[in-house]
Structures are given as C-alpha cells and as structure tokens.
Amino acid sequence: MKALQWQGVNKLAVGTVPDPELRNPGDIIVKVTKTVTCGSDLHLIGGYIPFMEKGDVLGHEFLGEVVEVGPDVRRHRVGDRVVVSSFISCGNCWYCDQRLFSLCDNGNTNPAITETLWGQAPSGCFGYSHAMGGNAGSHAEYIRVPFADVGAFTVPDGVSDERAIFASDSASTGWMGADLGGVQPGDVVAVWGAGAVGQMAARAAELLGADRVIVIDRLENRLAQVRQHTGAETLNYESDDIAGELRERSGGRGPDVCIEAVGMEAHSPGVQFGYDQLKQQLRLQTDRPVAVRDAIHAARKGGSVFVLGVYAGFVDKFPLGALMNKGLTVRGAQMHGQRYIPMLLERMAKGELVTEHLATHVMPLDDAPKGYKMFKEKEDGCVRALFVP
C-alpha cells in the first residue's frame, strides 16, 4: 500500500510498504479515508525527537472505515465509520481506570526508552517514533488499530468526516487543556498558539463557561479563524504587549488558567528566541520553552498553567520562582482521547464544536510531502493539511 514515510531529518516521501496485519485479537484494520498533519509531527520531521527510523510511517489524527476485525473485538464491525484516539490504551490498567488514558501501562511495546528518559513510560501513539511504540502511522491506505474496543469510536451519521477527524487528536487535546487546567465558569483563560490545538482549547474553555478567552499567536489568518469560529478574543505577540494586555483584560489579576499550545519549537520576536535557539543547537537544552515561560509569568496567583505543547527533554531559564511564589499549579499531558471523544462527537453533532475550517488544504496522499512543507512553513495560510489516501 501507499504511505508517507520519514526518510531522514526534513526528508519525507510517499512510498510502498506492506499492508498492515491483525496482530492481537483486539485489533482492527481501518481503511484510512482522511488523515491530517499535526504540529507534533513537525518535531519528528525536524529531528527534535530522535527515535525515528528510516521508513517509519507518520500520522496519528485520522478517520476511516473498518475493513477487518480481530476475534476479540466487540464494539466494531466491518463497514463502521470510526475515528481513532491518537494514543493507544488498554482500557483496563489503573491509569485507564483513572481515565488518564495516555498514561496506560500496556499500550507501549518499547517502554524502555521513555522510562529511561523520564522515569516512567507513557503509553504508545500512532506514527510517533519508536519511543512511543513504533506504531505505523495513519498517512497510509490502511492502519492497524490495537485495543480497538477502547480507542476507536463510531462516528454518528450526522457528523461529517471533516468535522469528526479532529476528535482524534486536536479537539481531545484542546479539551483536556481546558478541563484538566481546571477552567470554571467566570474564568479568564489565555491560550498561547492558534493552531488547531490552541483553537480547540479556546473553544473548550468557552463551552466550559469561561467569561473571557484570549488567544495569542502571530499569524493573522489563524487569529482571524479564532475570532470567527471560536468567539475568543485575540492578541498578536508581534504587535501587542501580551503581558500588559492580559493583565488589563483580567482586571489586573492575570488569567485564571493559561493553556500553552505551542510546543518545543516556539518562536518569539525578542532576544529570548535567539538565546533559546542557540542553546538548543548547542545541545544545552532540547526544547524552546518561550510560551511556557510567558504563561507562568502571566498567570494569576494560585492559577493554573496547562502544557499541551510537546516537549521532549530539558529547558533552560524555567521560572521556578514565579511558579513557587505565586502558588501555581502546572500540569501537562499527552492527550487522553478515550476520555473525551464520545462527548466531543456529541457536541460536534449538535454543532457546538466546529472544526472543518482547520483543514485549510485538502490533497491526495501523494502530495503529502508538499502538504507538510506548506504546514511547516505556514504557506498560503495553511492551518492543517488533510490527506485523502
């Protein structure tokens, strides 16, 4: 079958790979009908997460049709239209029972790498390096989905592919940031990053009753989408005084909840950026934490900061003093998709959660290398490139 493969740092190509096989009795095979780029892929493509092998198939946010089911599968049948959580979870361990699905104990076949790096291993993910299980990704004609009764969800008839696909990863991630960040009715919420993840976090904060939601980015087309589709306010960090504006818009208190949806390749207009980029290149830090620093500084006393952006290792100039003295709660996580997808699909069916506008560029899988280039360079207003295998 055809698939988009990682061929080396900043090298992608569409090639031919063997069709996936059922391996465990709880597996299904899905014929991928839509699959989309994610900001997380950029960290793999750029070589910031060095656990890729030449030939690995990328992609973890997708939707498709069930074409084969293993003997233990109960909830799915051939022909079902399903959206699949990007993280793979068994549904039965203590973490799954706590609904912390991306921390599942039994979903990563290579726990050694991340356990060595971080002390404990999170679960596995599709198309996200051998540190996350080395599972073949979704930018292909077919994909094997393990623990399918837990991680695959039938899409209600009224919800289009273009809407449902984002339940797979970005909408679940954004919802988690607002939910576990503790957004309450009446809160002021600030979101760094207006990519799909940041936009979904902003929408989630509104639906959870926030009084004011403010999204920060520098890309005007993305900020325009925020204003049009989520109803949040926007700030441009290249022209606005972010710290001052956030203070003013929250009555001098600072935002109750700050959600970071930028990640380890953060950009900034000031000297910080050069400093962080240089340190990253000299291997003195692995990640650029500009937005996390700003979020911690802006948050109100006793407020919370949720880190949705992906980080892999160590950062420098972490404002531990502000965190401690302001009594902040800082949390992060890979997304617990299984916890949110059924609710998100219901909200999508009711029209509360709209996502189609995120897929700004739709193209055949053959054009995926071009799609990633557009997505990476933010060419032509690209927010997400969606591939049709």
Partner: protein
C-alpha cells in the same frame, strides 16, 4: 542536525547500554504493580513469561496501598542465570496479561529499512520490554 538532541539520544544510548549488559544482574530486585486484587492472584498461578522463569527467581506478592492492586516483587537469587532484562520483560508481559488479557505486539510487517543510523535504536526496540528502570 541529530546532534541537537544529544541529551535525548543519550537516553537511548543508556537504554542500549542497559540492554547490552545482559550479564548477571546489577539489580536483584524488581517490583511492578498490577491492577488486580491480591485475592485473585497466586504466586504459582501467575500467567505468561513470569511463569517461565518462576522456578529460578523468588516471587512475592503484596497488596498495594490505596486500592492500586498487587505489588509483584521478583528477586534474582545469587547464582541464578536469569537476567534483569528477562525479569523486566516478564513483569511487564505478565501485568499486561493480567490487566488487559493480552500483550501488545508491535505493528507489522515493518516498513523501515535497516541503516547504520537506525541500528542502535533497532537494538533497543527489539528488546523493548527488557530495558528501562523497572
């Protein structure tokens, strides 16, 4: 470009090193928690790869606090040829069998091509459940 991630690559190297030292063991005790009540488990009835090494190691079960299940502790006696890699894999596989009823296999057939650069990583992932800190 790969150099940028030196500290992370070092993590992988450490995992490799842990794997290569397949010699009799630096750590003799390994403990894992399984989300099953102690009342359901018996040392002699544990399934999977732990059963295969059971006669060459000492296994003890204890209730985990706070309803977290059962702690399975394995001690490799002096003179046993069982490696700590084998014990880690056995504990992880047995936990998965007890909790999820199955042990997840990697995707396949593989789509990757072996290269010099891939080799250290492939060495680690071929023994993915043997390394780490457990």
């Amino acid at each position: 470009m790969l150099l940028i991630v030196g500290p992370l690559a070092a993590g992988a190297a450490a995992a490799v090193a842990a794997k290569r030292s397949g010699r009799p063991t630096t750590r003799q005790r390994h403990v894992i928690t399984v989300y099953r009540p102690l009342s359901e488990l018996e040392v002699t009835q544990l399934p999977g790869s732990l059963k295969e090494i059971a006669d060459r190691v000492e296994i003890r079960l204890a209730a985990a606090p706070g309803g977290r299940g059962t702690e399975i502790a394995v001690r490799i006696p002096d003179g046993s040829e069982v490696t700590d890699g084998e014990v880690r894999r056995a504990l992880r596989e047995t936990r998965s069998l007890l909790e999820a009823g199955d042990v997840l296999l990697p995707s396949g057939p593989p789509a990757t091509t072996p290269t010099l650069l891939n080799r250290p990583l492939q060495t680690v992932t071929q023994h993915g459940r043997e390394g780490g800190l457990l």
